[in-house]
C-alpha cells in the first residue's frame, strides 16, 4: 500500500493556554485519491483539524505529514500554495473579479498572465460557469452556488493534489447543494484529487465520501466506510447514522416511487 498523502499522528491542539482542547490525540491517514469527510457538531474540533494540515493553525503535539513532508519543515506560505482550500461560503475577495479570484494562487506563484487567463477559462468550464458572462463579475453579483463554484475553481487553480474543504456546501439551498456536491465528486475523480471535506451533515458525508471520520469533543470517535461505521459500537456514531436512515425511510414512504410530484 502506498504511503498516505495526508497523515495525522497523535495530533493535539489546545487554545487559550490549556483550557480548551480543540483536537485531542488524533491520528488519521488519507490515502492518495481518497475522499474523506470529517463529520461532527460545532465545537467538535473538525475545523481545527483541517486547518492544522496547511498550518493556518500550528499543532501543539504530534506530527502531520503532507505528501511525505512534515509540515513543520515546510514554509507555510509555500505549503498553502500547493494545497487547494475551499472556504465556508466561498471566502472570495470582494474587490476582485471572478477571474481575479480564481487566478490568485497562480499569480502568487508567478505564473505568466496569459497562462493564468487560459487556466481561468479552463477552470470556469470545469466548474460549469459560462466564461463570457462570469469572468469579469464581482462576487456580490453572483448567487451563493455560483460563488461556491468560483471558490472551488480558485482552490484548483494551481493544480493541487490535495483539496481541503471547510463546510463548502453548508449555506446553499438543497438543490444547489446536491448539484454542486455531485459536480465536485466528479471533479475529484477526474482530476485524481485527494479531498478532505468537513461537514456537519452525515447524509452529505455518506453520499460524497469514500470514508468518514467522526469527531466529538476533539477526539476522533470512529473512521471508516459508511458500512464500517455502522458496525461501530459508539452510541454517538450510531445516533449520527440513524438520522439519515430514518429520514430515508420516511421519505421513501411519503414520496411516490416513480415520477415527479
Amino acid at each position: 500500500m502506498s504511503p498516505p498523502l495526508i497523515a495525522y499522528a497523535n495530533v493535539s491542539k489546545t487554545f487559550d493556554g490549556t483550557r480548551v482542547i480543540a483536537v485531542d490525540d488524533v491520528s488519521l491517514d488519507v490515502a492518495e485519491g481518497e475522499f474523506v469527510a470529517i463529520v461532527g457538531g460545532s465545537g467538535s474540533g473538525k475545523t481545527t483539524l483541517l486547518r492544522l494540515a496547511n498550518r493556518l493553525i500550528e499543532a501543539d503535539a504530534g506530527s502531520i505529514t503532507i505528501e511525505g513532508d512534515d509540515v513543520r519543515s515546510v514554509d507555510p506560505i509555500l505549503l498553502r500554495r500547493r494545497i487547494g482550500y475551499v472556504f465556508q461560503s466561498g471566502g472570495l475577495f470582494p474587490h476582485l473579479t471572478v477571474a481575479g479570484n480564481i487566478g490568485i494562487t497562480p499569480k502568487l506563484l508567478g505564473t505568466a498572465p496569459a497562462e493564468i487567463s487560459a487556466r481561468v477559462d479552463e477552470l470556469l468550464d470545469l466548474v460549469r460557469l459560462d466564461r463570457a458572462p462570469y469572468r469579469d463579475r464581482l462576487p456580490h453579483e453572483l448567487s451563493g452556488g455560483q460563488r461556491q463554484r468560483v471558490g472551488v475553481a480558485r482552490a484548483l487553480a494551481a493544480r493541487p493534489r490535495i483539496v481541503l474543504m471547510d463546510e463548502p456546501f453548508g449555506a446553499l439551498d438543497p438543490l444547489t447543494r446536491d448539484a454542486l456536491g455531485d459536480d465536485f465528486r466528479e471533479l475529484h475523480g477526474k482530476l485524481g484529487l485527494t479531498t478532505v471535506m468537513i461537514t456537519h451533515d452525515m447524509t452529505e458525508a455518506i453520499l460524497l465520501a469514500d470514508r468518514i471520520a467522526v469527531m466529538r469533543g476533539g477526539k476522533l470517535l470512529a473512521q471508516g466506510t459508511p458500512a464500517e461505521l455502522s458496525e461501530s459500537g459508539d452510541a454517538y456514531v450510531g445516533e449520527l447514522l440513524r438520522t439519515p436512515r430514518r429520514q430515508a425511510e420516511r421519505l421513501g414512504a411519503l414520496l411516490p416511487r416513480e415520477g415527479a410530484a
Partner: protein, 519 residues
C-alpha cells in the same frame, strides 16, 4: 450700484493667483506629509493595541490645540532647531512661513487619517483575511492586495476630512509668514476691508468644497468599484492642483519681500515701500500680518528683506531693556545693537508711533486728567483695553511700576475696535497708538507720560543682513526717510481705516506718496 461694482473685488481677484497658489501648495504639502506619516503608523499599529491607543491619543490631543496656537508653536520650535542645526551641522534653514505651516498642518491632518485607516483595516472580515492566508499570501501580500484595497473607502473618508481641515486651517498660517487665503482675512480684518474678509472666506470655502467633492467622487468610485469615477476624481484633483500652482510657478521670482506686522499702519507702509521698489524697477512683494517676534526673526534670517519697526518696541521687546533713554541716544544705541546681528537700521521715517493711554477728551477734561499720573488715582474704578500684545509687553509693566496703576478690569481687543469702544464709554481707557488717525476722529486725547515710562517709538526702516550693502534698495527707499510726519501718518491711517475702495493699503500708500511729493 451693485456691491460687486466695488473696485475692491477686482483688487481681491488680482491677489487670487498668488494667495490661492500658495494656499494649495502648503495644503498639498501638509496633506502629503500627513499621509506619509499616518498611513505607515496606522498599518504598524493596527494589531498593537498599546501603540494604537498611544497614537490615537496623541493625535486627539494635537487636535484639541487651536489651529492658530499650533501654527504659532511651530515657529519658535523650528527657530530653535534651525539654530541647533546651524551650530552642529553648519547649516540652518528657514523657520519662517512654509516649513512651520506644513509641519503644523501635517500634524493636524493625522487624526482622521490614522483613525479611519485603523478602523478600515480592522473592519476587513476575518473570513477574508483567512482566505488570503489560505490561498498562500504572505502577510505583506495580504496587506497590499486584500486589506488595503478593502479598507480604502473608509480610509478615503478620513483623507477627505483631513483635506477639508487642512485647507480651512491653512488660512491661519498667514501670521507665521506663509501666504495663504488667510491673507485676505487678516488684511481685511486689520484694515476693515470687509470685501477682503468675505472674499477670503468664500475662496477658502470654495476650495475646500471642491476638493471635498472631488475626493468624494474618488471615494464613491472605490466604494462601488467604479474605476471611471475614481479616475475622474483623481484627474479633477490633479487639474485643480496644477491650475492653482502654475500661475505662481510661472510668476517671475520676486527679489524683495517687504514685511508688515498686524496693524493698519504697517499695511500702508509696506505697500508704500513695495510701490517705491517697483517704481525703481525692482520686483517686490509684501508679506503681511506677521507677529512682532516673527517679523524680526524673519528679517534676521533673511526671509524678508525690509520692514518698518519702532525703536521702543525693539528696545523693550527684542533687547529686553527696561531703562529709558532720550530719543536720539536710544536710536544710536539701537543701531549698534542691531548691527551686531547684521541688521541695518537704514533710517527713521520721521514720526513716532508710541503706545499711549488714550481716553475721550471731554471725559478727561471733566475729571481733570492730563497725564497718566493724574489717571493713577482714579484707575481703580476704570477699565482698560489694549491690543493682543500690550498687556504682555514690558511697556505695560513699566507703566504700572512707574505710576502704580491698577485698573478695575482689562480687556484685549482688535486695535481698530478699541477706539470706538472708548469713545462710546464702553471702556474707560485704551492703550492706543499715537499715530492712529482714529484719535482725532473720535476726539480722544493721549495722556502725557511725565515719568517717561514709555520709551520713544521712532518708526525705523530695517534691512535684512543680506541687504546691508544693497544700494538699489537704499536708494529706492531714501525718499521716505525723515519725510513722514505724525500728522501725515495719522491722516493716512485714518484713510486706511475707512471702509471703501479708497481705503485699501495700496490706494492709501499712493495717496501718501503724492502727499510727500507735494511737500
Amino acid at each position: 450700484m451693485s456691491i460687486f461694482a466695488d473696485p475692491r473685488w477686482a483688487e481681491a481677484l488680482g491677489h487670487l493667483p498668488d494667495y490661492l497658489g500658495s494656499h494649495v501648495r502648503v495644503s498639498v504639502a501638509a496633506l502629503a506629509l500627513g499621509l506619509l506619516l499616518s498611513l505607515p503608523l496606522a498599518i504598524i499599529s493596527r494589531r498593537q493595541p498599546v501603540l494604537r491607543g498611544a497614537l490615537l491619543g496623541l493625535a486627539s490631543i494635537v487636535q484639541t490645540v487651536p489651529g492658530l496656537a499650533l501654527l504659532a508653536l511651530f515657529y519658535p520650535l523650528l527657530l530653535a532647531l534651525a539654530a541647533l542645526s546651524l551650530s552642529w551641522f553648519g547649516f540652518g534653514f528657514s523657520a519662517f512661513g512654509f516649513l512651520p505651516a506644513v509641519l503644523a498642518l501635517a500634524l493636524y491632518s493625522m487624526l482622521p487619517v490614522l483613525r479611519n485607516t485603523i478602523t478600515g483595516l480592522q473592519g476587513v472580515d476575518a473570513a477574508i483575511l483567512e482566505a488570503a492566508q489560505g490561498v498562500g499570501m504572505t502577510p505583506r501580500q495580504s496587506l497590499f492586495t486584500v486589506e488595503l484595497p478593502l479598507a480604502l473607502p473608509v480610509m478615503m473618508a478620513g483623507i477627505r476630512t483631513a483635506a477639508v481641515w487642512v485647507i480651512g486651517t491653512a488660512t491661519l498660517s498667514t501670521p507665521i509668514g506663509q501666504t495663504s487665503l488667510g491673507n485676505y482675512i487678516f488684511a481685511g480684518l486689520q484694515t476693515q476691508n470687509w470685501v477682503f474678509v468675505l472674499f477670503g472666506c468664500l475662496a477658502a470655502a470654495v476650495l475646500a468644497l471642491a476638493v471635498d467633492q472631488l475626493l468624494a467622487l474618488i471615494e464613491s468610485g472605490l466604494r462601488n468599484r467604479s474605476r471611471l469615477r475614481a479616475a475622474l476624481g483623481g484627474v479633477g484633483i490633479a487639474a485643480l492642483v496644477v491650475a492653482t500652482l502654475v500661475p505662481t510657478m510661472m510668476r517671475a521670482q520676486t527679489n524683495y519681500v517687504v514685511g508688515a506686522k498686524t496693524f493698519t499702519e504697517q499695511y500702508v507702509l509696506s505697500a508704500l515701500m513695495a510701490q517705491r521698489l517697483k517704481a525703481a524697477g525692482l520686483s517686490a512683494t509684501t508679506r503681511e500680518g506677521l507677529g512682532s517676534n516673527v517679523i524680526f526673526e524673519a528679517l534676521a534670517s533673511n526671509d524678508i528683506d525690509v520692514y518698518i519697526d519702532y525703536s521702543g518696541t525693539l528696545w523693550a521687546n527684542q533687547f529686553h531693556r527696561t531703562d529709558i533713554k532720550p530719543r536720539q541716544e536710544l536710536l544710536a544705541e539701537l543701531r549698534t545693537m542691531l548691527a551686531r546681528q547684521n541688521i541695518t537700521l537704514s533710517g527713521e521715517l520721521g514720526f513716532e508711533n508710541a503706545y499711549a493711554l488714550v481716553m475721550p477728551r471731554r471725559r478727561a477734561e471733566q475729571l481733570g486728567i492730563r497725564t497718566i499720573a493724574d489717571l493713577a488715582s482714579r484707575a481703580a474704578n476704570m477699565s482698560i483695553a489694549g491690543d493682543y500684545e500690550f498687556f504682555s509687553r514690558p511697556e505695560w509693566a513699566a507703566l504700572r511700576r512707574a505710576y502704580g496703576l491698577s485698573f478695575r478690569g482689562q480687556r484685549q481687543m482688535q486695535p481698530d475696535f478699541m477706539y470706538a469702544a472708548v469713545a462710546s464709554g464702553e471702556i474707560d481707557v485704551i492703550a492706543g497708538y499715537t499715530s492712529d488717525g482714529l484719535i482725532a476722529k473720535y476726539d480722544l486725547v493721549a495722556l502725557g507720560d511725565p515719568r517717561h515710562a514709555i520709551p520713544p517709538y521712532d518708526a525705523i526702516v530695517l534691512l535684512a543682513p543680506k541687504r546691508a550693502n544693497d544700494e538699489a534698495l537704499r536708494k529706492a527707499l531714501a525718499p521716505l526717510l525723515g519725510k513722514i510726519d505724525i500728522a501725515t501718518m495719522r491722516e493716512a491711517n485714518l484713510r486706511a481705516a475707512g471702509n471703501d475702495a479708497a481705503s485699501s493699503p495700496d490706494a492709501v500708500a499712493q495717496w501718501l506718496w503724492e502727499k510727500l511729493g507735494k511737500k
